[in-house]
Subunit: 370 residues, 4 copies
Amino acid sequence: MIGGGPGAFIGDAHRRASRICNDYELVGGVFSSNSEKNTQFAVNEGIDLSRCYSGVESLIEAEKALPANKRMEAVAIVTPNALHYSAARMLLENGFHIVCEKPMTMTVEEALELEEIVNQTKLTFALAHTYTGYPMVRQMRDLISQGILGTIQRIDAQYYQGWINSFIHGTESRITGVWRLDPRHAGVSSCMGDIGVHAFNLIEYTTGLEIREILSDLSRVKDNIKLDLDGTVLLRFGGYLKGVIRASQVCGGEENGITIAVYGSRASLKWAQENPNYLYMLSDTEPTRVFKPAHDYNGKFAEISHTMPPGHPEGIYEALANIYRGAAKSIRGEEFIPGEFPTVHEGVRGMKFIHAVVNSDANGNVWTKV
Amino acid sequence: MIGGGPGAFIGDAHRRASRICNDYELVGGVFSSNSEKNTQFAVNEGIDLSRCYSGVESLIEAEKALPANKRMEAVAIVTPNALHYSAARMLLENGFHIVCEKPMTMTVEEALELEEIVNQTKLTFALAHTYTGYPMVRQMRDLISQGILGTIQRIDAQYYQGWINSFIHGTESRITGVWRLDPRHAGVSSCMGDIGVHAFNLIEYTTGLEIREILSDLSRVKDNIKLDLDGTVLLRFGGYLKGVIRASQVCGGEENGITIAVYGSRASLKWAQENPNYLYMLSDTEPTRVFKPAHDYNGKFAEISHTMPPGHPEGIYEALANIYRGAAKSIRGEEFIPGEFPTVHEGVRGMKFIHAVVNSDANGNVWTKV
Amino acid sequence: MIGGGPGAFIGDAHRRASRICNDYELVGGVFSSNSEKNTQFAVNEGIDLSRCYSGVESLIEAEKALPANKRMEAVAIVTPNALHYSAARMLLENGFHIVCEKPMTMTVEEALELEEIVNQTKLTFALAHTYTGYPMVRQMRDLISQGILGTIQRIDAQYYQGWINSFIHGTESRITGVWRLDPRHAGVSSCMGDIGVHAFNLIEYTTGLEIREILSDLSRVKDNIKLDLDGTVLLRFGGYLKGVIRASQVCGGEENGITIAVYGSRASLKWAQENPNYLYMLSDTEPTRVFKPAHDYNGKFAEISHTMPPGHPEGIYEALANIYRGAAKSIRGEEFIPGEFPTVHEGVRGMKFIHAVVNSDANGNVWTKV
Amino acid sequence: MIGGGPGAFIGDAHRRASRICNDYELVGGVFSSNSEKNTQFAVNEGIDLSRCYSGVESLIEAEKALPANKRMEAVAIVTPNALHYSAARMLLENGFHIVCEKPMTMTVEEALELEEIVNQTKLTFALAHTYTGYPMVRQMRDLISQGILGTIQRIDAQYYQGWINSFIHGTESRITGVWRLDPRHAGVSSCMGDIGVHAFNLIEYTTGLEIREILSDLSRVKDNIKLDLDGTVLLRFGGYLKGVIRASQVCGGEENGITIAVYGSRASLKWAQENPNYLYMLSDTEPTRVFKPAHDYNGKFAEISHTMPPGHPEGIYEALANIYRGAAKSIRGEEFIPGEFPTVHEGVRGMKFIHAVVNSDANGNVWTKV
């Protein structure tokens, strides 16, 4: 693991998920750029200090010196965004499989480079679009791929949060303390880069469609903010199909309000992350149907993604564990279902989306290719 | 009543609402352009045939000939859109109060004319934006007017329906049978004119803010459709405040899916029409609060808008009855709370919105003043 | 109308409902035992003072003197419980149809007498078990009668309210001010007589089954209360089928929390009054289905009980109006669907239930026949 | 670990939970009575075969021979019910801490014996009443202990499932294949022993009250079933406080429908397991409040029980992991919050409840002390 030291919530999430799926063992890593914290963390986690490295280079060197059956096979990258690319590149070039937090890189170019390396090396690269690990998101993908919805006529995805309010309405120093608001660490976007891209990914993941063009209108909300905290993105998929992504970090009281609705000529599907075990199928002529995990009426993909009997809710750690499980199958060369883990290609698509959105807004809200 | 003869659902709704509020008696009208149906309807409703008129002109002439205390005081206009303007104009000019279905007119110019006449005559003109009659919509307006939300940072309104699917995916003759799809009867817009305008109205009604500029992207969904059936509208209110209206008639399985969310720096409010007796107040620091009718914790406006004890759901007829009640107070010269009925001004705003949306889309998705 | 004068909420509800269904006209009655209030009420409602009577006897005498086509046809009895029986009896014996609030009488014997008179006179007697007027309750009855659930295995009904808390935890005088807590006006029971009986009625109404035996445990909650405010009733239907009714007036914060669940070997149905337009069909092998009004997938009974298009919520006034409509059909000798209005027989069953529950508790929680 | 070999869902759940909390390592056990399966399981899990034992006795002998710092510290017992007691007893007597599935034993006497041993040895004994590990259940306990509800006036808990339908309505051999329906393996009760006891435990856990007396009515549902599959239990807590537990395994379509509602004179609390991250506080005078995890408004106990930011749902594995974490603190001698894990005392209470319920029913539905 690279990053994820003391206090890093996302690193902890990755470790829990990998333990749940039980295909991984945490044997070493670079947990913090602060040497003391790095060591302390390794001690706390019971990791052999000889494998607690000061940097990615030394990790690579030392691990490659180990016999193949002792060597680290895969590395999870859970650092701030700006460090993803260089770490991923070096690791891939030295034969390590990767599980990477999103957004994958800072630029589209970096993303394309990683994609090329992955394609050449045939290594496994899993991107942590965690929401694709929920059983009912996978069931949604399954149902859509079967053509049950008829012609898709509208797509609407939302990602609303409110957590940033307490920072932006606080003191100036409180604002500067948030790395997501600093372009050097967060890249070109806060809201769209952090959460809008999840909505984008969910749309392409569940429908199998590509968003062709977008037109965005973003808001910084306050004068002293440098990046977007809020925005709406008009979507075109070609033909008459249109849609919208709505994302915001200033929707006070919204917690992690991700929703997706795909409306077809014959039926429609709706899902919301805060109650992830419910998938609603709407129809003009039938009662609404509510799909839940652990039932034979679901497809195989949903069913391998839930382990408890019906009515025992699993949550976000299990979703991420499902992605880790999918990556493990790929690493071991086992068969897996396409979509069991988001790939480097989803990472490229995400970066293209983020940059298209920022450009559309900067250029006066014009249609921009993804 | 003008219109609303046999089989007209909206006319029936108006009659029920007026009976619920009990301030009106249906004494006559022009119920159908078909003479036989017109008469038959009057007979069924127990209306004196001498007051069952063949047209608005004869109604005006005959009623004005009656002594003041026998004369019709107010007229409900529930015809197809294209007939609203001429009927309303004649009736206003002859001293009748009006309750009018929306959209108020076919053009902005007609709307402005009606506004001018109303302003001059001081007659009561109530527009049937029924959703403003719900107690919890009124409570929302109350809470926002008190400044409880802090600075408003984002507004999101939705109106999704799916009923038109069965027509547009049917035979050609089935399409031509729907007057909403025919520009001669429906005006410049189907989706935005019929339902998008409700979302627009709810935003201005609950927040007291004016939408300044919009940018829209509409879809006709199929080649042989002449009007928009679907669209997204970006909103600007001035300053950093932005928002979005999403409306569609092709969201299969959605029934009457109106929602509004207003997000502020201190708290947020969410309401959905299909469960109209719940108003959600979100906050980053407090548990979500659910307001319901018939409680002392509500303001006076909500409380006069609900008659049953808590937990006895009232519905859409009662919402419309609340508007009829407000108009009755105005007609009788009694005091009423601003917002007890939508006025001709809301009608003007709505027409401006519809035309701005259609123009923005036609001009290549450009910002357009409302 | 007998009763329902100034300030009486239930009388107002009956008048609204009768206006909604539009088959009735309020022409006279005895609105209050206080002569001044009686007259004032008639004036306010625009009722001819010659038909504002001082008592049931004078009403009967005067109305019978009128020609048949001018005479009152039906009388709504909305007085406190203790007066129902004598008024109903006199009116029935003089040829008037009745709509009566529940509970129908004070004793089982009175109830049986009314039943006998109704059977002999063939007059229409409708009991205001309002919840049977909801479209989805009627759909539930329909589905069960078709045998869709398989063998019914468990039935669970609830009626929880909390409104009485503010009285019983107030001063002594506040308690004595509530007629429901006074055995002279309320009869042998407060909670079970007022609300438990609705849960009982819903079970027998939706399933068509008769509850044979009950065992109850009631609570008065405080020393100075004379009647039950809370209780649980075990139910036996014969064979292995059992169930439970839970009712309480001290569930603080519950508003009008009526629910019913009927569990069968093949499927189950659940309904809750506070969201009355949703009926849930559960199954072990299929996604949960949500039935809503105004759809062709419903049976005829549900569909004649809802007038708006899908997604426009109707509420409790419309439910009561549906019962008034059913009674009107019966009065006019038109065909109606069994169950369109609760009859005197449901009144008898209710009184038997209330008395069985009180006796079971008083006798030490023993099984008691209904 | 004792039990939990191939195909055992509950053993898998315990392993996942222990990995999530990360305070345990699975080093050995007796996974199956079938020697081959036992070995195979150890191989699959990567467990040293020298610690894959054939029985509890050999486990104890071998582990005690190891140096203290290598020795197994705690043992999870996840066998069928009938084997809990003997394993737990032997392990406790030899100094092993225990995490035990529920019901703890087959008889009250066995339960009392275990309690005595635990009291004498001061070892940690954690019972897997998993639902007590949910953050919002803990918040409920916190709020009630602070007296926020006023005087508690009614308690209502439910546990409805439907999974057994497919067995009991199948062939005879299908029935005999379910160990829960066999008194030799399940003990005196199926429904109450397996799930009713969870409802019982939740009541005592959240309120801190003891149920004094119960009266039950159980149903076997079909002639060829030997144990209860369904039942209702009337509860008395002393004074006027009463309540009810409803439990069933034949509520078709219910999945894992656990609910608890505690009604007080000032406020009430409601929680349902299938949406475990919502806790509802009702009041007659305030809007309903919805508590969710990861907020400062919660007490400390809820907050240490959730690790993700708001809006990221955690589920049942995390609930069980919280119990494992609590037990780990106790084993290590660290401070913990009372209630962080259910103890042997809750096990004794549960066994008393199950036997009281069965006896009350067998004796003709009479009041029985718990």
